[in-house]
Amino acid sequence: MNAPFLIAKGVTKRFGALTALSEVDLEIRSGEVLALLGDNGAGKSTFIKVLAGAHSPSDGELLIDGVPVTFSSPKDAASAGIATIFQELALSENLSISENVFLGRELKRSVLGVPFLRRKEMKERVAGLLKELEAHISDPEAPVGSLSGGQRQAVAICRALNLNAKLVIMDEPTAALAVAETRKVLSLTRRLAERGCAVVLISHNIADVFEVADRIIVFRRGRKVAEKIRSDTNPEEIVSYITGAHPDVRALEKAN
């Protein structure tokens, strides 16, 4: 197996008195879909916000390709090749698809220092990406406000691809989607991994996770309580980790 793209060591995040993440160690590999599972408030979103540079960890470190990194903003994480599709998507509904895909890193032509947009190039690039993803969106100039939930996920994924991301993090991408759209997003997820991206997927839907994930990690109350290769486990076992019914979790929680 290839060397991990990202390693988290002892990552801890405190919000005042509340410890949202405690000593999390994990590895993320290229070409692999890693699923993070856990109850509400388990710390999944907090963990990926640390990866995405939106929160800085209270303790612990991140290594990318073996080199320690610190992110002080989402921009830092993006330059390191980490693209995050947040639970709240981070799309601007008043802008078009192509404007959203390029938001914050527009293609521009500088005239006297004024960054004029290269609309045509941006539009063509986005049309290409949408086609490659088979997203069935014909007009990259359509306002994002007019798209369905699944189409918005596709736009967010386009954004990640366009950043040439090496790691794409998706926080509950299918939470608000109907069956057909969920299928589509899951196949997009697989396609990302096949392109050689590392993918981290957060979901509450165990069936979805078992469909696309290569590896499954369970969080509970801010700690990592399980890590399994998909073929070595089954949904019942994972659920027992999530709920805390599994003997391992009991033992762990008793020890503390």
């Binding site: 799309l91 601007s92 007019s146």
Partner: protein, 318 residues
Amino acid sequence: MNRVRTLQSPALVLSLLSLLWVIVIVGLFALKPSVLSVGTITTVLQFSTILALVSLGQGMVILAGGAGIDLSVGGTVSLSAVLGMLAVKAGLSPFFLPFVCIGAGTALGAFNGVLVTKLRILPLIATLGTFFVYSGVALSLTGGSAQSGVPDWLLWWGRGVLAGIPVPFLTIAIPAFAIAGVVLAWTSWGRWVYAMGFNERSARLVGIPVDRTRLILYSLSGTLAGAAALFSLAWLGSGRPNIGQNLELESLTAAMLGGIAVLGGRGGVGGVFAAVILLVTLKTGLLQLNVNTVWQVGIVGALLILVLLADRFSESWR
């Protein structure tokens, strides 16, 4: 959502405003035919120059969201005008008058920006505070009296008329709107303003420098107020400590009427421009019909409430 889009499209805003404008003109003509003359057009455009510059700044501050509003614009105009004249009185070469006015305006605007972005004071409160401070200082520095001593060359510019159109309107108001329109529509800065205005959290997440952009916009609102102050000197021939009176109300009305969403992220400067012309035409008309100034302010206020109501309804259609 689509419905909102079509309802608030720039073309619709413009045609509605033009329609209103025609109604105002026809009404005026019916009541007092002698009103319609080239002279009136010139006067309207002269008054429009101040309101246009100030409303442009106001509009962009609102567009950028974050509960953005600049209530201090009137105070900024008054104080910039007064500071310019006092500097000349203190011995500064009048050649520097434009720099003092515009520089003072920019600094006063930047101070608002710092209060909002660095000290995180709610824009409404911050600029209400500076509104009182700026207008108060303008009054106390002058004891309330107009400051004379505007150089002739400036008057020549300020009072110049070309084919019925005031030269300052041609040389600062129109270029300012043209530049703002181009920047908003065609540059990445413009996209950032719309993005942060609509959804600030997502704008931050994609790495847009939200605070810096907002600071610049408040400063720019000050710059434009400073330019309006300069024009007021060049037009009226003196620095009046109350020249900016009611500008906050009128610029807000123009921005809202021009289709800028109160919560930011939607609208453009073309509508603001049309709204300014409409408002000033209405005011000039009322003046010509000898309607009391108190009523004029009242009518502008009523118009503002109407626009906010309309905006409210279009929100709830989403």
